[in-house]
């Protein structure tokens, strides 16, 4: 049962086109636009964090299933593994932002200059460049390390059939989940919430986490469907897709639940220090605000409600794409009001850079996929997964 993915020109050409588009846009945004790179940095942050989040979800996906003693996902396990391989590269890109912050070369975070702002002065102990850099380093290094470790153990198992690898991967997963539980929220506060440093919401980290789950599962689903359609994944049945579809459905509801919880509570309390966040989003971004809600909740909810839609690859892929766009928009709404504010727009630069990051991301994922067997042949639950069928 050896199936290996070859990263052929059929895949390579579109990927390179995407990357080139991205490079061109970056060049345009830096050299042509006269905004001190503001738009570039905002988009760079947005896309890279989004990509990191998706990649991280690959890792979370594996870890959670390992810990839950789950068997069905073994057939597609290599996909989330490959997705998580973006982490080292995303980390490097993230550090471009951090380093440029050290040299005051971007104006993403207002708290870099807390002078004269009482509240920011109060937060200086946490929001300062050195501490921020150290934290970012810890998150990224930790995640990258564990992603590589987990994959290494998984690949070793392919060569050496021994249950100890499975046991080891469970241990790694446990360590990762604990680390992730703490760092995911913190990273969300640091990278995104602190873009509007006066505002705070305890739920914010978990809200971003729910978005991570949806968009990550969407990407995994998309790649699964793509590989199945191109014949690389015969082992994947409708049952597997059904489960992925259920995830997409459930996580979309979870996202909506957290969105509602956060919005409603702030709306209800109506305390200016909190409402300012939504007022800004309802002022300049009100169309997107409601589109976001529909595209990320209403659409997947209605589209994936029936059993059939979760089992048809094309429908599932379509929903995944829409949801992915939706969550990019959600990230746009998280990042832009605090960075570009009224100057934010979805134009050439935004689309181009997003495509570029997409290309880069896919390049890495496909490369990673091509470097290993698509089936973890010695996984103890492989048989369960292959014979997997559900009653519901």
């Amino acid at each position: 049962m050896e199936i290996s993915f070859s990263f052929t020109s059929k895949f390579k050409i579109p990927v390179f086109i995407l990357i080139l588009t991205g490079m061109a846009t970056i060049g345009y945004s830096i050299f042509v636009l006269h905004d001190h790179g503001e738009r570039f940095w905002a988009n760079f942050l947005l896309n890279n964090v989004f990509a990191i989040v998706i990649s991280l979800c690959g890792l979370v996906f594996i870890a959670i299933h390992n810990l839950g003693n789950s068997g069905w996902q073994v057939a597609i396990q290599r996909i989330p593994e490959a997705v998580s391989m973006y982490l080292p590269f995303g980390s490097i890109l993230m550090f471009i932002i951090v380093i440029s912050m050290c040299f005051d070369a971007n104006h993403l975070y207002h708290w870099v200059h807390p002078e004269g702002d009482v509240i920011l002065e109060m937060k200086k102990g946490y929001l300062n460049v050195p501490f921020f850099s150290i934290r970012t380093l810890i998150y990224l290094a930790g995640w990258t390390f564990m992603a590589i470790w987990l994959r290494k153990v998984s690949l070793k198992n392919d060569r050496d059939n021994d249950i100890k690898y499975y046991r080891k991967s469970i241990t790694i997963s446990a360590i990762f989940i604990v680390f992730f539980a703490i760092t995911s929220s913190m990273a969300a506060w640091d990278w995104i919430m602190s873009l509007e440093p006066h505002w705070f919401s305890t739920l914010f980290g978990w809200y971003v986490f729910s978005g991570l789950l949806v968009s990550g599962v969407a990407v995994i689903t998309l790649i699964t469907v793509l590989l199945k359609k191109t014949g690389y994944m015969p082992q994947v049945s409708k049952e597997h897709l059904h489960d992925l579809g259920k995830y997409l459905f459930a996580f979309s509801i979870l996202w909506a639940y957290l969105w509602f919880s956060q919005y409603m509570l702030i709306w209800y309390g109506n305390i200016p220090e909190e409402t300012v966040y939504f007022i800004e989003r309802l002022k300049g971004f009100n169309t997107l605000f409601f589109i976001n809600l529909f595209i990320n909740f209403g659409f997947p909810f209605l589209a994936l409600m029936t059993r059939n839609s979760k089992r048809v690859p094309i429908i599932l892929a379509l929903v995944s794409i829409v949801v992915l766009i939706g969550h990019w928009l959600d990230f746009y709404l998280l990042v832009m009001p605090g960075t570009l504010g009224e100057n934010a727009q979805i134009g050439f630069v935004e689309i181009g850079m997003t495509l570029g990051f997409m290309g880069f991301f896919l390049f890495i994922v496909f490369t990673a996929l091509s470097h290993a067997n698509l089936i973890p042949v010695n996984h103890p639950y492989l048989k369960e997964s292959l014979e997997y069928h559900t009653q519901y």
Binding site: F260, Y263, M264, W267, Y268, N270, M305, Q391
Partner: protein, 182 residues
């Protein structure tokens, strides 16, 4: 022998039951019902039952609940008796979501349960026809229709077929009571 009759075939294992059921079905035996102490999967597929429409009842119930729940709140607060409460708008949509949600779930659940009970003709005080007291314990029963015009020959042929599938016992019964249930 003008009355409808049926055979009760006993199994003591669900594996045997499924195997037997499959071969009986293949041979075109009329299977009236199968009684099992726990849900044995695939029987419904073997017998060719359609997927239950209970989900749709639930959806309709839920939709009705949602509309009533949301609509009522909107009507109360904007049309019937608008009150300035804490400066909130009359049409305070976020405030209406929880009740709407609960109404949705409540109506969906009740619609389904009622649909299930009514469709299955069971409910408080329903008189069960007990073919065998152990069918809720450890016995699996297949009720095989014999047909009005069956001769003793056909019956014994049928019995043979059934016992070949591994049934532990076969009993012939008049279907006086059974017809009440189906």
């Amino acid at each position: 022998m003008n009355k409808n009759k049926y055979l009760k075939a006993y199994y003591d294992d669900d594996g045997l039951l499924i195997k037997g059921l499959k071969s009986l079905k293949k041979e075109g035996v009329e299977i009236l019902d199968v009684l099992t102490p726990f849900p044995v999967h695939d029987i419904d597929k073997i017998l060719g039952y359609r997927r239950s429409w209970i989900a749709r009842v639930g959806f309709i119930g839920g939709a009705v609940g949602a509309v009533i729940g949301f609509g009522f709140q909107v009507w109360v607060f904007t049309v019937d008796y608008p009150l300035n409460i804490g400066g909130k708008p009359f049409l305070a949509v976020p405030s209406f979501i929880p009740v709407t949600f609960e109404m949705t779930v409540l109506c969906a659940a009740f619609a389904m349960v009622f649909a299930f009970l009514i469709r299955s003709k069971i409910g408080p005080g329903a008189e069960p026809f007990i073919h065998d007291e152990r069918s809720t314990d450890d016995r699996f029963l297949i009720l095989v229709g014999v047909g009005k015009n069956a001769t003793e020959e056909t019956v014994s042929e049928l019995k043979n077929k059934i016992s070949n599938t591994g049934a532990q016992g076969i009993v012939l019964k008049d279907d006086v009571e059974l017809s009440k249930n189906y």
